[in-house]
Each structure stands twice: as C-alpha cells, then as structure tokens.
C-alpha cells in the first residue's frame, strides 16, 4: 500500500517530513511540549487505543463513518487508491468501488455532485486534493451548499455534506500547495469550518463533521499527516463542533490559534514563559465557524491580553474576526492592544516560506508586545 501511496503522491516526501518536524516545533529544540499531554474529556480514554498519525486517524474516522452509515460515500481525485495523502487507504477494498471512488479532475463537479447526493439525504464525504484547489469549487460550496436550507425555507438541506481538504505550509509547497483558505469560508453563514490539530482530534472532529446536520469543511494540516503518532481510541467518538479547547491555563496573556500553528504557539509560549517570566493561556479554536467566543472571551477577561495567530495572510484573516470580537467583549479588561501574528500579506511564496510563516520567534515577539505595552 505504501508503494502505491508514493506513486500517486504529488507532494515530495522530503518537503513533507522536514516541515512536519518544523511545524511540530521539535526541530532542534529540546523544549518539552505540553500540548500532546492534554487530555480531552470528549475523547474516551478507557477503551482500546491504537497509536496512529493524523492521516491514519482521518482514515479511521472515514472507516467508522462508512461502517455505521450505509449511505456514506467517500470520493475525490485518486481517492480509490488512497488519495495523495493516503487518507482513504484500503477503504475502497473494504467498502467497494460504489462507495469509495476516484473522480475526474473537476473540483466544481466534485462539490456539486456531493451537494446533490447530500440533498437526497446521503452522506457525502468529498476530498479536495489540496485546499488550494478548492477555489474552482468555491461557487458550489458558498452559493449552493451554504444556502440550500435557507432558500428552500427548510425543505431541503445538505447536512450530509462534508468536504475534507489538506491545507497549510509544508516547506516547499510554493504558491498552490500551501494556502490556508479558512477565512474565505468563515464569511459564509450556513457552513461550518473545522481544523483539527492532532490524530485524536482529527478522528473525533471528522466524525462530528460527517454527522453534523450542516455542510462542514474540514481543513486538515497536511504538515501533520505524518508527524507524531498518538494513541487514538478504536471506538466511535465525536468531539463537538464549535467548541474550543484550553490547552494550557495561564494568567498573563491568551494565545489563540488552530491546526498546525498550535505547535508553533506552544514553542513560543515555552520561550516566553522562560524568558519573560510570564504565564500564558493557550486556546485551540478547533472550529472556525461557528467559533467558541465564550471560551476566548472568558480567557481574555482573565488575562487582559490576547495574541492570535494563523498562517493565512493577516488582512481579513480569521484573527481579524477573533480580535474584533475580543475588542467588543473585553474592552474594559484589555491591558494592551490585541496582537495578530499571521502570514504576511503576500501570495504564499515558494522561496521565502521561512520568512512568510509566523514562526515561534514572531509569535514570541507578539506575546512580548502584548506584555510590554
């Protein structure tokens, strides 16, 4: 199976491996991580667990979905053979080619087709090979999927629709294999947008997304697909959408992020706590739309400071939404201007990726600016 995987994989494995490590923040650093030790009460801890990485967890979630719902289908470009990132590996063999199949290269077609299936009450789990290729499908997602229920006065809906797509920097992906398009979709009422940070989270959030009665986009951090393993429950479990998770409690500044950026924030926090002698709170939003305002607001009311970070460009990035909500809700408790540490307002660069991404040093500077104001 692995041979097949490399065969259709268009993402150079080298780029993969190196950045997965970099994104996980373990590149050369000996700082102890804390994120992986955090227990999520929505993840069952008592049953059987299997060590797996993020792509295997996605695979496991789809396996459960196909097994428990006979209307469920999984499809996308090269998906029958596992897809370029191996997420649908072995599912065609197990569930047959009527339920797990490869589509032509046609993102708008894939999305529209999935919407049609979902409108009939089926469960459609579509893969867009890279988030950068979701734009040809933008119209179907934003105009058709998001508004089906509203415009039919509730007669029809596409709740069975889930679109998965790998997003984010990987080292050398360049302009069209690195983007983070979540903010575009966050502007669309009717959609849900989810971004998991780890194997456990990926399985539980994806199962929730698949079973949620609304169309959901799941952006998976491709840099983490083959990064660290973690024990993942074998059983069927769901992590609720729209709920953030506090990964570390702290008293001086609230640091907010999601997806692969969580590990950059973790590293920056470890630096800041050591060098500035402060205490940071880390929040993983997990859901971008709808997002958990209460958790963030409660935290900032406590700390008085906020740093928000994502890989996507700063202008109109999701941090802008978080920042403005904090400003509205926490105005009298704010000790310093809210910091946004994001990608620069440039196309995703090929040769300047290290300069572009909001790395731990930039996040550290953001935390410092929030503290030293």
């Amino acid at each position: 199976m692995l041979r097949l995987s490399r065969a259709v994989c268009s993402m150079p494995t080298r780029a993969f491996a190196s950045t997965a490590v970099a994104a996980a923040g373990s590149g050369g650093d000996k700082l102890p991580g804390f994120v992986h030790k955090v227990v999520d009460e929505d993840v069952p801890q008592d049953g059987e667990m299997v060590e797996m990485n993020l792509f295997e967890a996605v695979n496991a979630a789809m396996d459960v979905a196909l097994d428990t719902d006979e209307t469920a289908c999984v499809f996308g470009e090269d998906v029958a053979f596992g897809g370029v990132f191996r997420c649908s590996m072995n599912l065609m063999e197990k569930y047959g080619k009527d339920r797990v199949f490869s589509t032509p290269l046609s993102e708008q077609g894939i999305a529209g087709f999935a919407i049609g299936m979902a409108a009939m009450g089926s469960t459609a789990i579509a893969e867009i090979q890279f988030a950068d290729y979701i734009f040809p499908a933008f119209d179907q997602i934003v105009n058709e999927a998001a508004k089906y229920r509203y415009r039919s006065g509730g007669m029809f809906d596409v709740g069975g629709l889930t679109i998965r797509s790998p997003y984010g920097a990987v080292g050398h992906g360049g302009l069209y294999h690195s983007q983070s398009p979540e903010a575009y979709f966050s502007h669309t009422p009717g959609l849900k947008v989810v971004i998991p940070r780890s194997p456990q989270q990926a399985k539980g959030l994806l199962l929730s997304a698949i079973r949620d009665p609304n169309p959901v986009l799941v952006f998976e951090p491709k840099a983490l697909y083959r990064a660290a393993n973690e024990p993942v429950p074998v059983e069927d479990y769901e992590i609720p959408l729209g709920k953030a998770q506090v990964l570390k409690e702290g008293s001086d500044v609230t640091v907010v992020g999601y997806g692969a950026q969580i590990y950059v924030l973790e590293q920056a926090i470890l630096m800041a706590e050591k060098e500035l002698g402060i205490s940071c709170e880390l929040i993983d939003l997990r859901s971008i739309l709808p997002w958990d305002k209460d958790t963030v607001i409660d935290s900032v009311n406590k700390t008085g400071r906020a740093v928000i970070s994502h890989e996507a460009p700063k202008t109109s990035g999701f941090a802008a939404e978080v920042s403005s909500t904090i400003q509205e809700a926490c105005f009298l408790n704010l000790e310093s201007p809210i910091q946004r540490v994001c990608g620069w307002d440039t196309p995703f660069p090929l040769i300047f990726e290290p300069v572009y991404v909001p790395d731990k040093h930039r996040v550290f500077e953001g935390i410092k600016a929030a503290i030293e104001f």
């Binding site: 268009s10 150079p12 490869s102 046609s106 290729y133 040809p136 620069w344």
Partner: protein, 397 residues
C-alpha cells in the same frame, strides 16, 4: 511507429563514407537533401484536417529536430538529477517522452504567437527560446531564473509564453483570452502578421469545467486559438479512460469545434498538424489538437510512475515510439549523419546543459526583501506597492 518508416529520399541517400567519418563534418549536400516520410494518419472531426499522408523535410531540419529532442531531454534529465541531489526543492514535473510536441509546434507556429500551458512547462519554454540557465536557475530558485526564482518548476515565463500554471485547467480560458486580444489586432494586421494563441492542457485536465466554458466562448467568438490536449495517458495515477467518458479528445469541441488527433511522438506529424491548425484557426476560429504522447517518468518527482502501469508498458513505448530514437534512425538511414556523429552531438549537448547547471548554481538567491515585491504596483509611481492592514501601514517600494 515512425521509427520503422523508411525514408524515400529524393536526393542521393548514401553520402560517401569518408565524408561522414569525421565527426561534425556533416556535408552540405546531406543537409540540403529533401526527404519524405509517411506519417501516422490523422483522425479528423468536423474537418478534413491536414490533407497530408507524408511530410517532406530536409536533412538539415531532421538533424535540427534531433538536436532539439536531445537537448530538451537532457535539460529534464539534468533537472531530475539536480532534484535528486536536493538542489531543487518542492515540485518538479518532467516532460521526458513528450519532446516531439514543443519541437513540432515551434516548427509550425510563429514566435509572435502566444503559448500557455500547465505546470509541465520546462521544455515548452525552452522551445520558445529561453536559455538553459534561465530554466535551470528557476528550478533552483535563483535570481538568474526566468521568474527570478519566485515561480519555480511550475511557474516559468518568457516572451509570448504565459506560463506555467499550477491550477489544472485554469490556463485554458486564459488562452482564449490571449486569443481574443489577437483577434482584435489581427483585424488590422496583414495576413502574414496575424497571430494566434496555443493553449495546452493534459488529458487529466479535460474534465475541468472551465476548459469547456472556454471552448464555448472561443467557438462563439471565432477566436484564433489552438486548444491542445497533451494526451500522455495519465493524470497523476489515473489513466485517461478512468477520468474521461470520451477519450477521443479531438471530438470534444461542443459539436462545433473541428479537431484532429495527432501521433505526437513524431515531430513531423506534430508540425503538419500545427501548420494546418494555425491557418484554420486564423480563418475559422478555434481548433482542437489531441496530441497522443506518453509520459516516461512519474507524475512528479515523488512518483516513481510504476504502480499504475507496468514497466513493460513504458519500455515498449520507449522502444517503438521514442522521439529521439525515431529521428536518430531516420537521420542515419538517410545518410545525413552516422551513429558516431550523433553520439558526438549528444555529448556536446550534454556538456552544454551541464555547464548551464553550474552557471545556474552560481546565481544568487533573491534577498528576502523580494517577498513583498511583485504583488501590487502603485498607479502613480509604477513602483511596487504592498497592502497593509491600513493605508498608513502600506508600503510603496
């Protein structure tokens, strides 16, 4: 196929052995001789197509084709090894096996015509006239690259070469747009100054909706554009018949666009097709060429290209239809040059391309300040402009 075709040389075939013995002393007579070769019959849709069953060429042209084919392949082989040495990072899609397309196309169209393609673009740009250094330096992400290192393997540009596109299918409507501009200019141009656009995509790109949207617009407005499907049998790991309900791509033009299927492993057939198509598109609007070819390597460098097809299938194409071997046989058969002379030519080309790689390696990387250039240009100063969160946080460079 054509490798086996015998030349029916109209001039004396056998040059004196003595004249051919000295390397690179290929005689003027050998170069001047006219040669005629049969070509694989075209399949035509809504047109009679190029009414030719054979192509007449000269010893000089054939030898030139040989040099070009060897050069294009060497360029990609050098890129391949540079990639394996980790000099090239990220993506790299090679055109190895498909060399007859840039050769035959450029032999038929004008340098003033416009070309646009997808990410498998290196040799198409080379054929447009870029230097080896510009291409290799781009692959290495260096300043001497055709896009100054900012585009990389998938985003190469040059005179009348509009890329180099990463989003599969997106280049096709853009190609139709290029053709609209040509149509307007052509209305005022002399016959020999009329220009066209060539928009190429792969077999895997045909299912993209925007390809068909472009077909309709081009047909509606009779745009001078040749739509080419480089039908190399695969889109990543998916074979052509698993992604397309109709694999006869020369017939996909909405029942109105004429199309021709071409044996695109033979540069003479490709040339004949483009000569016909160029005039047809100036006279009547869009045409479609299905260029039947074969991708020797995997989709990109991370794909060994062996799990969705057999090694024997690849070997069989290399043995029976290879572009270089086909021309080599014709050149030798016609007595234009002998095997040793051709080997010497190949050696020279190899040296040239390898020297170009060294030159590319010596080129510097752009400074990090270039991250923020080439995004916007300020209207008044024409200087670079970078949008900030607010106006006072924006920069004019």
């Amino acid at each position: 196929m054509f490798a086996l075709a015998r030349a029916s040389a109209s001039a004396a075939v056998a040059a004196p052995a003595a004249a051919r013995a000295a390397v690179r002393c290929i005689s003027d007579a050998a170069l001047a001789q006219e040669l005629t070769f049969p070509i694989t019959p075209f399949k035509c849709h809504l047109t009679d197509g190029p009414q030719v069953e054979e192509m007449t060429t000269t010893g000089a042209e054939l030898l030139e084709f040989f040099k070009l084919a060897v050069h294009y392949r060497r360029l990609e082989l050098v890129a391949e090894s540079a990639y394996k040495q980790q000099l090239i990072r990220g993506f790299c899609h090679l055109h190895i096996g498909q060399e007859a397309i840039p050769i035959g196309m450029e032999a038929a169209i004008s340098k003033a015509d416009s070309v646009i393609t997808a990410y498998r673009c290196h040799t198409l740009l080379k054929a447009r006239g870029a230097s080896d250094v510009e291409i290799l330096a781009e692959l290495l992400g260096r300043e001497a690259g055709c896009s100054r290192g900012k585009g990389g393997s998938m985003h190469m540009y040059g005179p009348e070469f509009y890329g180099g596109n990463g989003i599969v299918g997106a280049q096709i409507p853009i190609g139709a747009g290029l053709a609209l501009a040509h149509k307007h200019a052509n209305a005022k141009a002399a016959d020999d100054a009329k220009r066209i656009a060539v928009a190429l995509c792969g077999d895997g790109a045909v299912p993209q909706g925007q390809v068909h949207e472009a077909f309709n617009m081009a047909a509606l407005w009779k745009l001078p554009v040749i739509f080419c499907v480089e039908d190399n049998q695969f889109g990543m790991g998916t074979s052509v018949s698993r992604s397309n309900a109709n694999t006869e791509f020369y017939t996909i033009g909405h029942g109105v666009i004429p199309g021709v299927q071409v044996d695109a492993m033979d540069p003479l057939a490709v040339k004949a097709a483009f000569q016909w198509a160029r005039q047809a598109t100036i006279d009547n609007g869009p045409t479609i060429l299905q260029l039947k070819t074969y991708r020797y390597r995997g989709h990109s460098m991370s794909d060994p290209g062996t799990s969705y097809r057999t090694r024997d299938e690849v070997k069989e194409v290399q043995k029976s239809r290879d572009v270089i071997e086909g021309i080599r046989a014709r050149v030798i058969d016609a007595g234009i040059a002998d095997a040793a002379e051709l080997k010497a030519i190949e050696k020279d080309i190899r040296k040239t391309v390898e020297a170009a790689l060294e030159e590319a390696k010596a080129s510097s990387e752009l400074p990090a300040s270039e991250l923020i250039t080439d995004i916007y240009v300020d209207k008044e100063s024409q200087k670079g402009f970078v949008r900030g969160v607010s106006l006072d946080k924006s920069w004019v460079l």
